[in-house]
């Protein structure tokens, strides 16, 4: 069983966490000038990086989203931090 570090709760069981989205995927604005291609890119397209990945995860039990740095081959967790502007 792997442990992930929630920036708010500390080390917790991996089953408490949910992968949300790859980091650096801002919602395109303003909505009325977003093309279908841009919207599809935001909703669906990913990098699925092999190796280092920077991802947004949800700690389901405390309800906080945060940034997790991982290696997607070895599953090693490199760091976890709160989203920018959020105090832990």
């Amino acid at each position: 069983m792997q442990l992930f570090r929630c920036p708010f709760c500390g080390l917790r069981n991996e089953t408490e966490f949910l992968f949300a989205v790859e980091a650096g995927h801002p919602r395109p604005e303003p909505a009325e000038s977003v093309s279908d291609e841009e919207w599809a890119r935001y909703l669906y397209l990913h990098k699925a990086p092999k190796g280092h990945a920077r991802e947004i995860w949800l700690h389901v039990t405390c309800g906080e989203y945060f940034v997790l740095d991982r290696n997607t081959i070895t599953r090693e967790v490199l760091s976890s931090e709160a989203l920018p502007g959020i105090e832990t």
Binding site: E14, Y44, L45, A48, E55, T72, R75
Partner: protein, 416 residues
């Protein structure tokens, strides 16, 4: 190609089995090809075979980073079926099942297709309603699917847990009689042998480093064995596909996850069908050797590593024990994982991408094995004609921009 037959077995037996020749030719790369297929799994090898057989394009290379059939083709639970919901999916997967039905004869290689039927078991009246809906959809789409009652199901899978304390009693479900299992390695080897005999170069230990693009069109690939020229490239590389097409500036709607499977020690025949429990998400069948072949849902952590994690193992195996308490005595022989390419609507991506001459066949997620003949057939059609076959058109990448998703995860309500 040496033709395999009962007579050839006898002849080789009489000569002490000393004259068998390798089933396929290990080629080294030539300078240029009419088409290059990246990925020597089932889909890639089938693509090369149909290019040569259906479209008379024989100057074809299949480039495989490791050994043929060593990826997900050799790591799955070998189920083949077409019990899907949407018309587009049924057309696709039933094309595959129909090709499977004639495959051993066509390839002169026994892929050991065993159409032993598959039961998707329901446990509540609501699930039975969903099963009824899917069975109706299957019949409207022209494939064999029927609703099975609890009594009928009990005859098909007599060992399932129907005790008073069972959490998931089987109330019946959907039955597809044409579903079954096939020998996964034989599918790769059979296509490789048939393609090789038609002149296709199958090149192992050949890793593609770069796609070469000039003037907006494909002109070749750079590999660890040198540069090969071609104007048409088909990628059938499952979880490695996003990394390849990102080189030409294209992202795909794909996340990669590990999918685990398990095999028990062999026991005498006790399960002669494929069984999926909606309640546990676990499915299993018994191999011809007697092993229980067990699978379930995805791991929840995106990964490129071909190994599973413990929570998913626990879910799958506890599910199996709920279904078959008697199997608690079995020892597991092996456990493994493959990296599967999962698309939000649980349907594959087939079609052109990026520069002219580049086509992909990926996103099969947990269901790639059953789709090998169709995936190869349709990618070959794209490579040969430059345009979609009518069956692959709905699965084009443009469905994400148009919002025309083919949502099989919600549509059929079963694990893929």
């Amino acid at each position: 190609m040496q033709k395999y037959s009962a007579l050839s077995l006898v002849r080789h037996a009489l000569s002490g089995h000393k004259n068998w020749r390798p089933a396929w030719h290990k080629a080294s790369p030539k300078e240029g090809y009419d088409a290059i297929v990246i990925g020597g799994g089932g889909h890639g090898l089938a693509t090369a075979y149909y290019l040569a057989k259906q479209h008379n394009i024989e100057k074809v290379a299949v480039l495989e980073r490791g050994w043929i059939g060593g990826g997900n083709t050799g790591r799955n639970t070998t189920a083949v079926r077409s019990n899907y919901f949407w018309p587009e999916s049924v057309a696709l997967y039933d094309l595959s099942l129909r090709l499977y039905e004639g495959l051993s004869r066509e390839l002169n290689f026994n892929v050991m297709l065993s159409q032993r039927g598959m039961l998707i078991a329901a446990h509540t009246p609501m699930q039975m309603e969903i099963c009824n809906r899917i069975a109706n959809a299957m019949q409207l789409n022209g494939v064999d699917g029927e609703l099975m009652t609890a009594e009928q199901a009990e005859k098909v899978v007599p060992l399932v847990n129907q005790s008073a304390g069972a959490r998931y009693k089987c109330m019946g479900g959907i039955w597809q009689g044409r579903a079954g299992v096939a020998r996964h390695d034989a599918v790769a080897w059979g296509y490789a042998r048939a393609a090789s005999s038609l002149g296709v170069d199958i090149i192992e230990n050949c890793e593609v480093l770069n796609l070469i693009i000039e003037g907006g069109a494909v002109t070749g690939v750079e590999t660890n064995l040198g540069t090969l020229k071609t104007e048409r490239i088909g990628i059938a590389a499952a979880g490695a596909t996003p990394g390849l097409v990102q080189q030409v500036g294209c992202d795909l709607p794909i996340h990669t996850y590990a999918l685990q499977a398990f095999v028990s020690e062999p026991v005498k025949p006790c399960l002669d069908t494929v069984l999926l429990y909606l309640g546990t998400g676990t499915y299993l069948s018994q191999s011809d050797k007697g092993e229980m072949v067990i699978g379930g849902g995805l791991d929840r952590v995106p990964t490129h590593g071909q190994r599973g994690n413990l929570p998913a193992q626990e879910t799958v195996l506890s599910g199996m024990l709920e279904m078959f308490p008697a199997f608690g005595q079995l020892k597991l022989l092996r456990q493994w994982a493959g990296v599967v390419d999962v698309v939000p609507d649980s349907s594959p991506v087939i079609g052109p991408v990026g520069p002219e001459g580049l086509f992909i066949n990926c996103g099969w997620g947990t269901g790639g094995f059953k789709a090998i003949p169709a995936g190869g057939y349709l990618l070959a059609h794209l490579l040969a004609t430059g345009d979609h076959h009518e069956i692959s058109r709905p699965f084009d990448l443009d469905r994400f921009t148009k919002g025309r998703l083919i949502d099989e995860a919600a549509g059929s309500g079963i694990a893929h």
